[in-house]
Symmetry: C2
Subunit: 215 residues, 2 copies
């Protein structure tokens, strides 16, 4: 009864606007004036909620990682074989990333060294480790084929992020609108396919193999 308050505070609206503008313009390209304008308040009022631009930027990133970690743990604790779990995780992960291109752009730019944050959040490394450890276990148990786990997880992150943020510009012929259901489905199938090709052991059936035959 105490966490069930869906009230949208001004702070929330600022965070939402900041997410959009930061994703669009990058940290240094973002003007606080623009964020305030979208919320419908004056620039100076932002400083009632956040000490500085950097503080606001940091707050935007916070929740995102927590959300991803929750999704990862849920998928890996689900039912099925290790490969089933990884397939499920991959699908959910792609869904999330494709549904939030602005957040993904912010994370991406952060990884390029855009924001002045001196210390990088350790979440990405921890999340990558959770999944790669899970894969390594499955490989020890002979339930998954041998393949460098970190290389694979990193590649999945790369493909998902790129598809969400850059596909429309770099490869519009392949993916039109990244947020369309069709695009999401295509990316999901592709990434899952790659994961299966790398981790499926001899006997394991792959999902929808006929779909891969395309030119």
């Amino acid at each position: 009864m105490d966490t069930a308050a869906p009230r949208v505070t001004t702070r929330d609206r600022i965070l939402a606007a900041a997410e959009a503008v930061l994703g669009e313009c990058g940290y240094h390209g973002t003007r606080l004036h623009e964020i305030a304008g979208r919320v419908g308040i004056r620039k100076a009022s932002l400083f009632h909620y956040f000490r500085s631009k950097e503080d606001l930027h940091h707050a935007v990133l916070e929740e995102w990682f927590g959300e991803i970690e929750r999704v990862i743990r849920t998928a890996l604790e689900g039912p099925g074989t290790p490969l089933d779990k990884l397939r499920s995780l991959t699908e959910t992960y792609v869904d999330m990333v494709m549904a939030h291109p602005a957040r993904t752009k912010i994370v991406l730019r952060q990884s390029l060294g855009d924001a002045p944050a001196s210390h990088w959040p350790q979440e990405p490394q921890r999340l990558l480790r959770i999944v790669s450890d899970f894969i390594a276990e499955g490989q020890s148990a002979k339930m998954l084929a041998p393949f460098d786990p970190k290389a694979l997880v990193f590649s999945v992150m790369a493909m998902a992020a790129f598809s969400s943020t850059s596909a429309a510009v770099l490869a519009p012929e392949w993916l039109g609108d990244p947020s369309s259901a069709e695009s999401v489905e295509r990316v999901k199938r592709h990434v899952v396919d790659v994961v299966e090709r790398c981790l499926a052991v001899g006997g394991q059936a792959r999902s929808a193999p006929s779909k891969r035959a395309a030119v």
Copy 2:
């Protein structure tokens, strides 16, 4: 005798410095003062060579695409089976991207909408098309396995770019220093491996299959 003048002009030194700073700080984070400082001249002197910051940024990107296109055409016109050519292309491409993280960062940020360039260069799309058309041909001739060519080429771009620019921050356990020979070799082997898993037909041997067995 007329193109063989390896003289390094001041303009060249400005371009080199700009490449470094733009890669490090992004377009809006870049200060012309910083570029001038690295060249050893005053900020105002930059405007003798370039009309504006945007002009300088644009000039930095120009050569890069041309270089990539040359590499692609050379590899695809080389000897061997289609898969051989793609393997060779992939290796050379990864080499190039890993050797130039600053340029790669600039391209990446550009694809995120960082720079004020209203119209995006069409090179990436054309380059992607050249390679995916080549793959489609090989598939028609049954020399390559069926697999969505654009999805694969896009994924290779994603993996290479990410490895070059973000691996050290996102996955330092996997890749330490991206410019080290060891890292380059690891990424190369991984990306080539993925390409082979997607395009090799039944009988075709894969390179160094034993190297894939790792945990």
